[in-house]
Subunit: 310 residues, 2 copies
């Protein structure tokens, strides 16, 4: 069974993780750009502490005999993390985190200037590092399987190829039919239509809070060059929207997409808080929720009619 | 001399402190209100880790034989912190931090509703806790001396009374003269004049960056019910301004006041970063800088003429 001392130690991991999520969110939203060098150093140090804490409970996790599903889940999730830490040396992990924080800022500038060459060395180095991680973690079929597992537990390249491969013939048939019948949407002219940012921010807020009924007390919307969702904790979930100044649909659907992610994060059960299970277990389910809201709901006639009349 | 292992351990304290400053800033600016319960728990856990880390280097600090002023300063500053941690048990410290985070949110609401009674129980408990801290730290002359020392190293109630006492007769004479000659500013009518927030935000930004020449890459301005300055690190200093919607001078002078604090924080020498000396040593000097900018510069004829013409 899980001891109190074990949970107390894990709570430190929990607190460090939450601090790091806020620091990551802040890098993308409000941090003054020159703050990045120290921020990267702060996060690398916290990550190193997090690793050490997890290794301190390695024996507890290894010898844990789960009494129920919850404890079995805790053991499984922690063991995955500990295996990663045991396999990937701190220097490699630290370089990935530092590079990731620094390259986010470089990418932001490069994006505005449409200048891939300034971002390329960061991307190249990241690929090198990830190949190294794949080798360190080991794999049976394909190097990427070991990295894929970090995002979607247990999924391998072969299985993913199988899933997408079986969809391909049907998708091709659908595409051919659409092309043959000329049923593409024709441009409405709205694609190039500029909007004043303040007005669009008002629309985004109204749709988020009055239509999607996002909870004001636990949710907020900021802006960033690439929209994302961060769940700091189950009472603090944040999304960002990108305002490009034209084609209001892009801001609108990034709002609905990210709200889908946020709805998933906000449904984390209270009993899981302070345990390693208080995090989304599947990127696949995460993305399915965002796309359900964006496409099946947000682009439906019913929804568009609702906000068009509103 | 200071060993590398000592500085490595201190770097963890440094990283935790920086994370906590960002978390504190976030509570006052952007955190969704219901996030506070977990945020308070996160910060209490980090503070507990910070305490443990500092106690781990207690022996190193105690036996440190400083080779120069810098090392002597590091020893002095750390020893003060360690003495506090040794004297004030974790439960007391944790309750102060938790209460402080929670009451900030209560205060924000109470302020808007002008409802002191909802804030009073938090204030009462804080006073009780601070009296306890004073007793735990010990004092010679007056209980408040031990608390005053936490803000202004070495200053006692007797000395502070001496300083303010010696100013009193002269201040009274100045006041009498002002009253006798009727030289109070008469209201200009601007005190009740409303302003649109967007316009005032533009003015605040223009004065901050174009007149005060605050560095865009290291400095940002947000808004909060009570203006404050947070130095996350020497490349990331943030102030807040309060926009009440009337009497633009109040927003303007809170900008200049907080910018004074920020200028002080931004001048932290690079050689001190990652050491315990990378924090403002004196609240008195801090406040003198903010008031110098607010009153001596900001209210001077030269400055007002400059922004009036601009």
């Amino acid at each position: 069974m899980i001891s109190n001392s074990f949970l107390t130690k894990f709570k430190e991991v929990w607190a460090i993780s939450h601090a790091m999520r806020l620091m990551g969110w802040d890098i993308e939203t409000y941090m003054p750009p020159e703050g990045i060098s120290y921020r990267a150093e702060e996060m690398a140090t916290l990550n190193s502490m997090r690793r050490k804490k997890l290794l301190e409970i390695k024996a507890d996790v290894e010898h844990l005999e789960p009494r129920d599903d919850m404890e079995a889940g805790i053991k499984r999730v922690l063991w995955r993390e500990i295996r990663y830490i045991d396999s990937v040396p701190e220097e490699v992990d630290a370089e990935i985190n530092k590079l990731s924080a620094e390259s986010a800022v470089v990418w932001r500038d490069a994006r505005v200037k449409n200048d891939f060459s300034s971002f390329k060395p960061y991307l190249d180095r990241m690929v090198e590092l990830k190949v190294k991680v794949a080798q360190l973690l080991g794999y049976n079929d394909h190097p990427y399987s070991s990295l894929l597992d970090l995002y979607e537990e247990g999924l391998t390249v072969n299985e993913a190829d199988g899933i997408f491969g079986s969809l391909l013939p049907d998708l091709k048939r659908v595409l051919q039919k659409v092309e043959a019948e000329g049923r593409f949407n024709s441009p409405s002219g709205l694609e190039d239509e500029p909007y004043p940012r303040e007005i669009m921010e008002g629309v985004v807020n109204e749709i988020a809070y009055d239509v999607l009924r996002m909870p004001r007390g636990k949710f907020r919307i900021d802006s960033s060059p690439h929209p994302f969702t961060t769940g700091i904790n189950r009472h603090d979930v944040r999304i960002t929207v990108r305002y490009e100044g034209f084609d209001f649909k892009r801001a609108l659907y990034s709002l609905i997409h990210e709200s889908g992610h946020a709805i998933y994060e906000l449904q984390m059960d209270e009993s899981l808080e302070f345990t390693p299970l208080a995090q989304a277990p599947s990127f696949g389910v995460h993305e399915s929720q965002s796309r359900l809201w964006e496409n099946n709901i947000g682009r439906s006639k019913g929804f568009v009619g609702l906000i068009y009349q509103g």
